[in-house]
């Protein structure tokens, strides 16, 4: 389903203390990476509620990156372990909903790892490009048969409506 001109929209939730600084460092060091990620800074990867990821996907994101401090190095002691547990549980559910596993990724990047973060972004963008657009809201669009059927019912009942008028 890959498209040649498809540029995926990726939402990135980056923690304030490590990963966002890694992104800063990548910028300062002029490391080039794919420009597809829209970064949202959160105080900790443990702040990333699964709701954030689901909302991004349902509103048009093709992929989501969650990035935090390495395990054992969390500014809030162990909240990135909670992020890890939530991520794996969320992936388990997303898999059952038919979302390809490569669209959502958890990345660890310390403040010194601008290069690693840039590579992780490139990797995610390349993988999502291969998968193609997600277009989740199209999943609940009905075809024209629905509107036609509603019209039919209204026409059939029109007689009753006319009595009142």
């Amino acid at each position: 389903m890959s498209q040649t001109n498809f540029e995926p929209k990726i939402v990135g939730f980056l923690c304030n203390w490590c990963s966002y600084r890694a992104a800063d460092l990548a910028g300062i060091a002029r490391i080039t990476h794919a420009p597809n990620v829209r970064i949202v800074r959160v105080m900790c990867s443990g702040r990333v509620d699964p709701t954030f990821v689901l909302k991004a996907l349902s509103l048009g994101a093709d992929g989501v990156m969650i990035a935090g401090c390495h395990p054992g190095e969390c500014h809030y002691v162990d909240q990135n372990y909670k992020a890890m547990r939530r991520y794996h549980l969320l992936k388990h559910t997303l898999h059952a909903m038919g979302v390809e596993p490569d669209r959502v990724r958890l990345v660890w990047a310390s403040a010194a790892e601008g290069q690693q973060l840039a590579e992780a972004i490139d990797g995610l963008v390349a993988d999502v490009k291969k998968l193609g657009p997600l277009g989740w809201s199209q999943n609940w669009e009905e075809n024209g048969e629905r509107l036609h059927a509603l019209e039919e019912i209204i026409n059939e009942h029109a007689e009753a409506m006319e009595v009142h008028a």
Binding site: P50, T93, W140, E145, M161
Partner: protein, 337 residues
């Protein structure tokens, strides 16, 4: 009371009440009748113009009413075909206050789990694959059939089950599968007294089932999730701490913690609490944080062994109303032709 117009002359000035069902099981009506003899007070306060479960109201009579003529409509059931969508639109137009009554109308409930499939797969299963079905000619329901008298129509079956507020504008929500009778009575009293909260309010508590649960809570660390048949739980201690995936932590209070009281984990029928966008996400967030493992391998082992059906666990009552609404539709599926 077979005709709304006939009843209107007899009952004069009483405000009109409609109770309707779409894709639902009828449990909501049973729960309304569960208010017991107070149903006579409801009959005294309202003129019941439609309730297909217990009386012979006609759609035509509703169509003939002025717009906004019905004071209150309690609408239960989700929307899964064109006839239900038409009735939702009709009752919305004719009712001053439209209440999404019960889990199906509120968040999709069990019918919403059909959103794991599509129309084609559901028809294939129902009309072909089930053990008791013999259908060598592969007959399927048609939406239009021509007979000598004209063309007969059946409702169009949708690919995706929708909640009431994904279909029409909704004023209030009454959660629960079904809403508990005392809560229904409270809501009816509030409506009669004109003591209504702001539009869009979910009429109910703003706390969780845990607050109503008497069990002793200590530290939650789970190494293995268990199914209900695997253990006989201790009657005093928090069920989640014993490894049963109890949804009470994320579920709105209102039932009185009925299930945990009888040693059965909460399954989440009262839906999300206030300000929660996605019940399943909130529940996943809470459940994940009690998993007692620190590396992906162990975490995944606990999850895959203990939660084999994540959608049925986290979205049992709320899939249609969730952020994702349904599973990914098979490529090329466009409504099931």
């Amino acid at each position: 009371m077979s005709s709304a117009s006939g009843a209107a002359t007899a009952a004069g000035t009483k405000p009109k009440l409609a109770i309707y069902w779409a894709a639902s099981c009828g449990g909501c009506e049973i729960s309304i009748l569960g208010i017991d003899t107070k149903i006579l007070d409801v009959a005294a306060a309202f003129e019941l113009v439609m309730c297909p479960c217990i009386m012979d109201g006609k759609v035509r009579d509703i169509e003939q009413l002025e717009d906004g003529a019905i004071a209150v409509c309690l609408f239960n059931g989700s929307i899964r075909n064109s006839e239900q969508e038409y009735m939702a639109q009709l009752l919305r137009r004719k009712s001053k206050v439209l209440v999404a009554f019960g889990s199906c109308a509120h968040e999709g409930c069990i019918p919403g789990l059909a959103n794991l499939h599509d129309k084609q797969a559901i028809f294939e299963n129902s009309y072909q694959e089930t053990e008791s079905t013999e259908n060598p000619q592969r007959v399927r329901p048609q939406t239009a059939t021509t007979v000598p008298e004209g063309t007969l129509h059946l409702p169009v079956f949708y690919d995706t089950v929708r909640t009431l507020d994904q279909t029409v504008d909704v004023d209030y929500y009454l959660p629960g599968c079904p809403p508990e009778s005392p809560k229904i009575w409270e809501a009816i009293q509030a409506i009669v007294a004109g003591n209504l909260p702001p539009k869009g309010t979910v009429i109910g508590s703003d706390t969780t089932v845990c607050d109503d649960c008497k069990r002793i809570r200590n530290v939650k660390k789970v190494k293995q999730f268990k199914r209900t048949w695997e253990i006989i739980p201790d009657p005093e201690i928090c069920l989640l701490e014993q490894g049963l995936l109890c949804c009470g932590i994320a579920t709105r209070a209102g039932c009185g913690a009925l299930c945990p009281q009888v040693n059965s984990p909460c399954i989440g029928c009262y839906g999300p609490n206030n300000d929660v966008h996605d019940f399943g996400a909130r529940l996943m967030s809470a459940v994940a944080s009690v998993i007692d493992a620190d590396n992906p391998k162990d975490i995944n082992a606990i999850i895959s062994q203990g939660i084999p059906d994540p959608v049925g666990t986290f979205y049992r009552f709320g899939l249609a109303g969730s952020l994702l609404r349904r599973s990914k539709r098979p490529a090329g599926s466009d409504g099931g032709h």
